[in-house]
Symmetry: D2
Subunit: 141 residues, 4 copies
């Protein structure tokens, strides 16, 4: 799986096409197995008690795995998430950003699959695990 | 499974304890199998193109199943979502609210399980299907 | 979703193409929402202690949802399961068959989705809940 | 997470308590993150066409993650699988054993979570990905 979009290209794509999440989400690195993506946690992501909400973690995993796919197939806008399964395992640490480490597992003609471990920055034990499937648009041939 | 919190009690709980979602989410009915819960879709839930975002649907399912559980066990604040699996099946209809129909499947001592079909209001075909597990706090005895 | 294979046609398909499961699995009915499928539990399905094993329940759900799809699209052999999520909620009752009640949720061009509640015969509370996605072979047109 | 049962202890446990799967399943190694477990594929695991069946892969993942948990907590017999999500991504290679590589993600007081990549022996691309949750029996204190 050759890399066709690097970190800067993915961050530019994010700012241009996903304005509503681009403030908080940033690709840190395109990696050998996928990508490392940061959620800069702010008040809008928190539940009472100061913990990051489930939907915010779901959104991070969704964008992170999607961007990891794009790093290998280029700026496809029409991929849609068809399935997600997520395990919430620990409370995120207060006042820390979240980092999603993505592994690409399949890049097929019709479907792409990846998973992600989400950690509070600087903490080894994962906060959540998520796997997602995306339906890719039919390719012209 | 006897009903211990009705629609009004759940909506009051939502406004008091979940301020950040209470504007958009509203219990329509407590039903024989669970509950019917509305997401009043506004601009904050939309992706470019006008479709409701995945995290917004995830958030609806999470709150809806949680409230259906509370309708049977009362105002427990400490339940945490441990697992979710979601299938996104169709594009939500533009300009329509979403309705989550919840079925409670298990109310155990430690774990509760429910699932939900999400539909655009007035459309029969479901937009998404979601199942979730919650860990319940240990009961005093 | 019109019915194109009825109970007898599905059971014949099962005996001809799925010899290895056809002894134990039988379509009871094609229903408005999907199908009702029986696992005639025998010693090969049991774990020590006499309870039906997880893989046996997984196998029942997989065949049941697949047959429900065929009831609407005809005898397609090349559909493959791409994703499954299953919640095991209660111990099956000893000495009882299992019944899988299937709901078809999506029959798309590329993907089909269904879910199933599995119950011990005569017991109302479900033993397991399962949802599955199938990739359908490209249609000639 | 200290290792309290090594490879030989796990294989002995398997032969004594899980007779019905012990012929085909064997722990290859207890690893830093979990365990590596082999399914010695035979005719009973195959679907027509010679590919390993979904239930056989599900069963491998279930036993493999369970054994990885026991490698850290000792010979607990009463853990039960409460949730599984599995992605089937490629056809297993014909005539090859399957190897499940397990990562333990959480060992809590009530719940344990792990995931596994399943590969055909000698093939790098994974055949399936599976995550599972187990409810642990209450500990005496």
């Amino acid at each position: 799986m050759q890399i066709v979009m690097n970190r800067d290209a993915l961050n530019r794509f994010l700012r241009e096409r996903f304005v509503q999440v681009a403030d908080a989400i940033r690709v840190e690195a395109v990696t050998e197995t996928g990508a490392l993506v940061r959620l800069a946690v702010d008040a809008s992501h928190l539940r009472p008690g100061g913990t990051v909400s489930g939907p915010a973690m779901f959104g991070l995993a969704d964008v992170a795995i999607y961007l990891a796919i794009l790093s290998r197939i280029g700026p496809v806008e029409l991929a849609v998430t068809t399935n997600a399964s997520i395990d919430f395992m620990r409370k995120p640490a207060a006042g820390k950003d979240l980092l999603a480490e993505v592994r690409l597992l399949k890049l097929g003609r019709q479907l792409a699959v990846g998973d992600s471990l989400i950690r509070s920055e600087g903490v080894d034990q994962p906060v959540a695990r998520c796997s997602m499937t995306y339906a890719l648009p039919a390719q012209k041939s």
